[in-house]
């Protein structure tokens, strides 16, 4: 209560007295997680709940000749064994295409395979039993007669006419192709120095610490299905489950409490989850499915898996004249439903060259089917590929003309006063801050001192490198992402706010929480706008019966879209509260404000009536209010950005690392990020989103890869063999900010969730190449394993 009391309407909601916006307040409700008293789906038990395990194909491609489950059916605890053919009667198959991705094709996919399996790990039967152990015991007694078919694994070979076509009806293995041709690339390249390279990106996966988990509960008496699922998009799950089970949306409720990690893995709907919904309906009882770790590796979506040929044209003065890419990506046997597996390649061609002023851009992306697990959207969809190719080429161009990597960026990054503008691929930029970000980064890392240190150490045979990566990031997606292609994935979010009878606030939002801090940012915004302390704001989310309809939390949309909806709903409620306060106090709404849980005079801040007293009058003694006053202490607002299809953010990262040229090991020493995500609601949460994202990007850069053999067998499907970053290898990560709020919303927030992952691998790869430049080694492949590095050095 130390703030000045300017009339409420002249203050932006962002700088109201006692605003929580911009403050690092701890997240409410953390205690349940800290005490191990969270409510993850894997913890859930319901009366009469059965457990399902899936018998999965050991072959990447095979015909199912016969399934003999007779012995298994007789085993103790077994409730039912269901094949794909039997489940077809309960749930319809689906095809993962979107109409705006022209030409995208896929084949009908079943909840459980019918006749043929297309990747190692595809379910061929479901065993439902009274316990998971009983189900696993029974599973071992099912015999399946397979006829192995040739597996298509190499994505380059997939397009060869001599390679078998995975889905004969589709004609070939090309799922999608898109080209862009802007400016005159041939002319530009003919007048420039040209550098080209093949970039190879390993397949990796999310490895959420809590595996995918679902409990489906069909209530035959109510004819309603309740789905408890760790998902990022409850309303999407509701829609899809209803559609394929032949139900109305009103017959499906999706509940999502705590989620043990998501990162895009849990924004999709998987065949085994669809099967679980269907099994509950078929068996008329709750059925629980929790993937075990091997299943997670074999069936959680994989990501990336690109080979991208890139070219850049550069003049001697450092001017970049053109980018050209030819990207090939393998998506497994089906385009994932309902978001499709073409979005990532589409993003790659949208984003390459994005930070730079280069009118000449040519791109081709081809998406091919393979007999491997499905590949689809994962954190920072397409961004790490686009950033690695772009920034790898920029560094190669700099090396070619003997220019410092920072200087070439300074000369080519879009000027901070050039906005609004558009990229050659047609992306609209509202306001980015590449130069301010780069300047800040160089200060934070003390670039010149690091270069001096690097040179000094080199004389002692210590090889350190500095890598810089500028990037742009797609956030706050509008309907242009999915809705325009016919998917019923909402691009808007809604928030309902109400004042309860004790003057506290209950807030229902359609965004979800997987640890990013959605509850916190919602409570911070609502508390700030309403003048209510955060402890008095309770946030309800993750329940389609009890929240407004909306998209959920993915593609960095929670703060920018859900946050703005919260702000607008709170403003509407604030107006309603002040209207009734004015009536009670015989004042005017503009003469009053709400501060610290009380109605106060707007001019001098003098307390007039506490909110709990106002609520008491409204709820219990409305008879004392003047005639004609019917207070509405509840308000709902929805928000979707309209002017720009996406709120682009930007940033820059730097990596400082050491390469051991004897062993090929890379030691990360320090990492810096400057990010511009617009208005920052909670600096600590934003920084931790970025740090977590960076570490996922570092994992991709150095460790993570799903390794398949030529028969489509995933050979490292466990946490011991699939390496992820652990605390011992990770550096400290310093974060800085430049703030350019989006004018599309009053809040001005853009997203921050992808930024870290978008640029980390590019920064590391550039740093490794910087360290190895004197050896003439250039590596354009991740993960940068010791084997890759030693091979490049010619040591093995």
């Amino acid at each position: 209560m130390t703030a000045t009391h300017a009339p409420a309407d002249t203050l932006s909601v962002l700088d109201r007295p006692n605003s929580y916006i911009g403050k690092s307040v701890p997240r409410p409700n953390l205690d349940r997680l800290l005490q191990g008293r969270g409510q993850y789906v894997s913890d859930l038990e319901l009366p009469r709940m059965a457990h399902v395990v899936f018998l999965r194909s050991p072959y990447a491609h095979a015909k199912i000749v016969a399934i003999d489950a007779a012995a298994a059916r007789r085993m103790s605890g077994v409730i039912s064994i269901v094949t794909g053919r039997e489940l077809e009667d309960v749930i319809t198959p689906w095809v993962g295409v979107l109409s705006h991705l022209k030409g995208l094709k896929s084949a009908p996919q079943h909840a459980i395979a019918v006749d043929r399996v297309c990747w190692q790990g595809e379910a061929v039967a479901a065993v439902v039993a009274t316990s998971r152990a009983a189900a696993e015991d029974a599973m071992e007694h099912i015999t399946v007669d397979y006829e192995e078919l040739e597996a298509v694994t190499d994505m380059r070979a997939a397009l060869d006419p001599a390679t078998p076509v995975i889905h004969a009806a589709l004609g070939d293995n090309l799922a999608f192709e898109r080209t862009i041709n802007a400016g005159d690339v041939d002319l530009a390249l003919s007048e420039s120095e040209v550098v080209e390279a093949d970039f190879v990106f390993g397949r990796h996966t999310g490895v959420t610490l809590e595996p995918r988990a679902v409990v489906a509960d069909w209530n035959a008496a109510e004819a309603r299905l309740t789905i408890y699922q760790g998902t990022q998009a409850p309303h999407m799950v509701q829609n899809i489950a209803a559609l394929h089970l032949g139900l109305r949306e009103a017959q499906v409720r999706v509940v999502c409490k705590d989620v043990g990690g998501s990162f895009g893995i849990k924004v999709h709907i998987y065949a085994d989850e669809m099967a679980t919904y269907a099994l509950s309906k078929l068996l008329r009882r709750p059925v629980k499915f929790v993937a075990d770790r091997v299943e997670s590796f074999n069936t959680d979506i994989h990501a990336r898996d690109h080979r991208c040929r890139g070219r850049i044209g550069v003049l001697k003065d450092g001017t970049i004249t053109a980018f050209e890419i030819d990207d090939l990506t393998g998506i497994g046997p089906y385009s994932m439903y309902p978001r499709t597996s073409a979005i990532e390649a589409n993003q790659v061609v949208n984003l390459v060259g994005g930070p730079y002023v280069t009118p000449n851009y040519r791109a081709r992306a081809r998406v091919v089917f393979q007999n491997k697990n499905v590949m689809c959207q994962y954190r920072a969809v397409g961004h790490p590929i686009a950033c690695s190719v772009t920034e790898g080429l920029v560094d190669l161009a700099a090396a070619k003309i003997g220019m410092d990597p920072v200087e070439i960026r300074r000369r080519n990054l879009i000027a901070d006063d050039a906005y609004p503008c558009a990229s050659p691929s047609g992306m609209k930029f509202e306001q980015l801050s590449h130069h301010a970000s780069l300047t800040k980064l160089l200060q934070m890392m003390d670039y010149d001192a690091l270069r001096a240190e690097q040179a000094a150490l080199r004389t002692r045979n210590v090889h350190r490198g500095i890598g810089i990566a500028s990037f742009i990031e797609v956030t706050n997606p509008s309907a242009a992402f999915y809705g325009v292609g016919g998917a019923r994935i909402s691009s808007q979010d809604g928030v309902a706010v109400r004042l309860d009878a004790q003057g506290s606030v209950i807030c229902q939002t359609s965004i979800t929480e997987q640890g990013q801090g959605s509850e916190s940012l919602t409570a911070q915004i609502v508390g700030s706008v309403l003048g209510v302390s955060m402890e008095r704001v309770r946030v309800i989310l993750g329940d389609t019966d009890n929240t407004p309809y909306g998209g959920g939390t993915w593609a960095s949309r929670g703060a920018g879209i859900g946050g703005e909806a919260a702000l607008q709903a709170a403003k509407a409620l604030r107006k309603n509260i002040l209207d009734v306060a004015a009536a009670i106090l015989q004042s005017t709404p503009t003469g009053l404000d709400i501060v610290n849980n009380s109605i106060v005079n707007a001019d001098d801040g003098a307390p007039r009536i506490e909110l709990n007293e106002l609520a008491r009058i409204v709820y219990f003694r409305p008879d004392t209010l003047p005639p004609g006053i019917q207070p509405e202490l509840m308000a709902t607002r929805h928000f979707v950005p309209r002017q720009y299809p996406f709120a682009f953010t930007n940033g820059v990262q730097a990596s400082w690392l050491e390469v051991d040229t004897e062993t090929g090991f890379v030691t990360l020493l320090k990492h810096w990020v400057v990010e511009d995500c617009g208005t920052i609601i909670n600096p600590q949460l934003v920084d931790e989103q970025i740090r977590g994202g960076v570490v996922q990007g570092l994992g991709a850069a150095l460790f993570e890869k799903c390794i398949y053999d030529e028969r489509g067998q995933l050979t490292n499907a466990n946490m011991a063999d699939y390496l992820v970053p652990m605390s011992g290898e990770m550096p400290d990560i310093e974060i800085g900010h430049v703030v350019s709020p989006t004018l599309e919303s009053e809040l001005g927030a853009k997203g921050a969730g992808e930024a870290g992952t978008a640029g980390a691998a590019a920064a590391v790869a550039n740093a490794v190449n910087d360290a190895l430049r004197q050896f003439g080694a250039i590596i354009t492949e991740i993960p940068l394993t010791p084997q890759v590095i030693l091979t490049a050095l010619g040591r093995i």
């Binding site: 610490l209 043990g260 652990m726």
Partner: protein, 161 residues
């Protein structure tokens, strides 16, 4: 193999008698038999550390230990350590520093961090990194966790001084 075995043990100080199958691991026993959901299962082969509990004072991976092996032992889970207040300052530091996001690794992290702080009163950052290097966190990037453990060590040292 399929005949249940009788076991008696202490779990969070409470005497427990149960019949369990010999193949039942301790993590599943705690979760399924005792409904103590704080012990999380992440990898089921001893790599991720989410299932870390304390058995007779030592931290163990409860997914790698059989319930029958806990016969006569004292098992402490995150629920017990929370209720006793033993890790209250560590939990507060995690809360303050946002050293958790999804929270799934957190019980294991807290128990492992407490184990370190019992052995070494003022570990440096590298020692913290190494002690926690068997506990997987996919959300935070580890730095916040390190900060929280370091801060707790400092506060405890000040309290002792």
């Amino acid at each position: 193999m399929s005949v249940p075995v009788s076991i008696s043990l202490l779990v969070n100080g409470e005497p427990i008698d149960a019949f369990v199958l010999p193949r039942l691991n301790l993590a599943d026993f705690l979760r399924e038999n005792l409904k103590l959901t704080g012990t999380h299962v992440g990898c089921e082969h001893g790599v991720c550390g989410a299932c870390t509990v304390r058995v007779d004072g030592e931290i163990v991976r409860s997914c790698l230990m059989l319930a029958v092996q806990a016969q006569g032992a004292s098992v402490e889970t995150i629920e017990g350590l929370s209720d006793s207040g033993e890790v209250a300052d560590l939990q507060a530091a995690f809360r303050e520093r946002n050293a958790l996001q999804c929270g799934y690794c957190t019980p294991g992290m807290l128990i492992t961090a407490q184990d370190l702080l019992k052995q070494v009163s003022m570990p440096d950052r590298q020692a913290i990194r190494e002690h926690l290097s068997g506990n997987y966190c996919r959300c935070t990037g580890y730095q916040a966790i390190l900060d929280a453990v370091e801060a707790t060590a400092k506060t405890r040292a000040e309290r002792r001084a």
